[in-house]
């Protein structure tokens, strides 16, 4: 049996924004690590988009060598603490685990999280403090690279390039680095301390961060091209979709991006911060992804009564399993196979009109296609509607730079992640990624390899 993750009680956690999962103790982690069969041909590694040596680090945990485990993961992944928390493991490494076929997979995500939390914890490593392996500082190559955007792909690319010996500068448009890890994922799922720590580690590698620099506005890509030997664009998805229905301009209709930015980046939930956020009584969140579940749980913590409305069924929900489970525990209502048709109100939202849907055939994304059932409209009262129905690539680059892009403003790249501009690479959601942190990291790493290859050739 898989060792359950210790979590905080529902009643307690809906009152604050602190993290829900408490994390394994050493004994629990060792017990869970012992479940790993150490397969000869481990399939879990194939399930990981960046190919972390999963059995290797689990073996280290089993031997209580946490530092060693951390080193194994960090070889591939500089955002260890982040991935242990936000990866949809049930669809990646854990899905491939041989134990999953018969029962429950090894809790790879929880173990990764345990590793990141305790890699510097000397109390839990009795008599086994590993030799202080001083990381060899890479030889400086006297070539520089600019990274646009400090989200997961940008950070991964920056860390890898710095590790290779390049001088790296990261440009961030907002006032703090981290991108979606900062403004998108809430504190109760990914404490900002973890993000700060990971960024601090990357900073110590010699990476410079310039915040408040909106590339495209403050400087252009052409400016960066002149000043740097290579440029990586990782500006991510940043354009919130709206449903184009009647009433979306009413007060109380808000995009999940705005709601979460106010809460996560601007800390609007804390009375010490100036940014306001509406604390509505009845909140309807539209959508079924992580953004929807995050918004719903954040609204719950502000004291609202929350209902998630999703147009497909439970099985198709793209959100992380653990988060859906936590949301249900916290008393969030779910209405499936339903879609809004109009928002009711004068100036302010008073209600929402919904229509029932059924699933038919397949759409372009390979999922079941929701189709409205005629004459099944019904109304629900609410004071706030949060739309979390996906987002498009950030159009800033496509609008301000002559770079080859698609209709939806995503940037076109080749297999080496090169764009149409020389020495400019791109990765993550800006090239039309699938909105997971780990695939963005993979893009950042691939780009770093090809940037290195290009700069060595020169």
């Amino acid at each position: 049996m898989r060792i359950p993750m210790p979590i905080r009680k529902e009643k307690e956690r809906i009152l604050d924004f602190k993290e829900v999962n408490i994390g394994y103790s050493l004994n629990e982690a060792v017990a869970e690590a012992s479940r790993c069969l150490q397969c000869k041909n481990p399939e879990c590694i194939e399930g990981c988009p960046i190919g972390v040596d999963i059995p290797g680090f689990i073996k280290c945990i089993k031997n209580k060598n946490i530092k060693g485990a951390a080193q194994i993961i960090r070889k591939m992944n500089n955002l260890l603490g982040v991935c242990g928390r936000v990866c949809p493991q049930e669809r990646l490494c854990e899905e491939k685990c041989i134990l999953a076929k018969k029962g429950e997979a090894v809790a790879i995500g929880h173990l990764a999280r345990f590793t990141s939390d305790n890699e510097d914890n000397i109390f839990i490593l009795p008599n086994k403090i590993p030799k202080n392996q001083k990381q060899k500082k890479a030889k400086r190559l006297h070539k520089n690279a600019a990274i646009v955007g400090s989200g997961p792909s940008g950070l991964a690319c920056a860390a890898d390039l710095a590790g290779m010996g390049y001088d790296v500068t990261v440009y961030e448009a907002l006032h703090e680095p981290g991108g979606v890890l900062r403004y998108g994922i809430p504190e109760f799922r990914l404490p900002k301390k973890i993000v700060n720590d990971e960024i601090e580690k990357i900073r110590k590698m010699g990476v410079g961060f310039l915040v408040n620099h909106v590339i495209g506005k403050t400087f252009t890509i052409d400016d960066l091209q002149k000043e740097y030997d290579a440029v990586f664009i990782g500006t991510g998805a940043g354009l919130p979709n709206l449903p184009s229905i009647q009433g979306e301009h009413l007060n109380g209709v808000i995009t999940a991006n705005e709601f979460l930015t106010r809460i996560n980046l601007m800390k609007a939930y804390s009375p010490d911060y100036d940014t306001p956020v509406k604390k509505a009584k009845q909140v309807i969140v539209v959508g079924g992804g992580n953004t929807a579940v995050d918004s719903a749980r954040a609204a719950k913590r502000l004291g609202s009564d929350v209902t998630i409305v999703y147009r497909r069924s439970f099985a198709e929900m793209p959100a992380r399993m653990e988060e859906i489970k936590h949301a249900k525990e916290e008393g969030i209502n779910f209405i499936f196979l339903t879609q809004p048709t109009r928002i009711i109100g004068r100036k302010k939202v008073q209600g929402i009109e919904l229509i029932q849907m059924m699933l038919e055939g397949q759409d372009s994304s390979g999922r079941m296609k929701p189709v409205p059932i005629e004459n099944t409209e019904f109304e629900m009262g609410c004071n706030q509607v949060i739309f979390a129905i996906g987002q498009g690539p950030n159009p800033m680059m496509a609008k301000t730079t002559k770079i080859s892009h698609r209709m939806d403003k995503s940037i076109v790249v080749d297999s080496k992640l090169r764009t149409s501009k020389t020495r400019v690479f791109a990765g993550g959601d800006i090239i039309g990624g699938d909105a997971t942190v780990i695939r963005a990291i993979r893009d950042g790493k691939i780009a770093a390899l090809h940037i290195d290859e290009m700069l060595r050739e020169k």
Binding site: T218, L239, H249, D274, T275, P276
Partner: protein, 326 residues
């Protein structure tokens, strides 16, 4: 950290701040704005660039809420934690001919740089400045240096004409043709200007709705323009006045009024006046009442407005806003 090089009180509750921000001046143009955050706990607040030189930008603001009250307390030599920009699209500057720039309250701040740039392009620039009273008129001396004709209006008649900015505009429109009218100020003022110039002059307005990031990510600043949803921060702030749905802008600006008032009272112990939401430039609280009274008096106006409404309605109904991507 960005240093304050100059702070000056230029009128009743109106302040000028010159902030050192070398990274912004390279591409800053008239119409651009910045977003600043005073300190760690402050909010991200947008301000139009009122003036700039080779290393600093100047902003003007009226104390309307907590953020502006906090900024007013800063002194020369203090610093501001974050300044990002230049954001938004610059205003279109061309050789238009005769341009009338109508501005009210701190909207005059944006009008100055724009008037200067238009003047340099050999346009004939007519400025109409509005303020509550004589000690709230912004940069009258600066405007008089660049303007071909400067008309000052005050609500209380303490200086210049005793009327709203729309009255001299209405008179001028009867007498002469404008190649372009630009209105910058409170939404009610811009709405009235748009009504007056409808089918008479090409008119643009500068919108300053509530926003958070200012780089097109949150969608909080969305406005209805024509049949589409636009984001004022990346698609604007300049829009065709005759396409803008001002009514939704006016009520959307009051979204966080309760929260802002609470925050302001907590920190500064005084009540802020309604209609003044913290993040926008509007100062001139030209009350809706005076306008509506005026309208009531003028039956013709009402009739023409009704007609216009019916004309406008048709296309609005047909299509719904912004197409969802993917």
């Amino acid at each position: 950290m960005y240093k304050i090089l100059k702070k000056q009180k230029i009128g009743q509750g109106i302040y000028e701040l010159r902030i050192e921000a070398k990274h912004i001046v390279k591409y800053a143009k008239p119409g651009n704005f910045i977003i600043l955050r005073k300190n760690e706990t402050g909010e991200r607040a947008p301000f139009t660039i009122a003036n700039l030189d080779n290393k600093s930008i100047t902003i003007l603001f009226n104390v309307v809420g907590k953020t502006t009250a906090d900024l007013a307390k800063l002194k020369k030599g203090d610093s501001i934690k974050d300044v990002a920009g230049p954001l938004g699209n610059p205003s279109e500057i061309g050789e238009f001919g005769t341009v009338c720039i109508v501005s009210g309250g701190t909207g005059c701040a944006s009008a100055y740089l724009l008037s200067k740039a238009l003047k340099e392009k050999r346009n004939k620039v007519i400025n109409i400045l509005g303020a509550k009273s004589k000690d709230q008129i912004i940069w009258e001396d600066k405007f008089s240096n660049i303007s071909d004709r400067l008309i000052v209006c005050t609500d209380d008649g303490s200086k210049g004409m005793h009327c709203l900015v729309t009255k001299p505009l209405e008179k001028l429109l009867k007498k002469q043709y404008f190649n372009r009218v630009i209105a910058i100020g409170p939404p009610v003022m811009m709405k009235e200007v748009a009504r007056l110039t409808y089918q008479r002059a090409r008119t643009f307005v500068h919108l300053a709705p509530i926003m958070v990031d200012g780089i097109g990510m949150c969608g909080g600043c969305r406005v209805k323009v024509g049949n589409e949803t636009k984001f004022a921060c990346v698609d604007g702030p300049e829009f065709d006045a005759h396409e803008v749905d001002f009514d939704s802008i006016i009520y959307r600006n009051s979204r966080y009024f309760d929260e802002e008032q609470e925050s302001h009272e907590k920190h500064h112990g005084s009540c802020i006046t309604k209609a003044a939401t913290k993040k926008k430039t509007p100062v001139k609280q030209k009350s809706k009442k005076t306008i509506s009274k005026k309208k009531a008096a003028n039956k013709k106006d009402i009739a023409s407005r009704k007609k216009k409404k019916t004309i406008n309605k048709k296309p609005v109904k047909k299509k719904t806003a912004r197409k969802t991507k993917k």
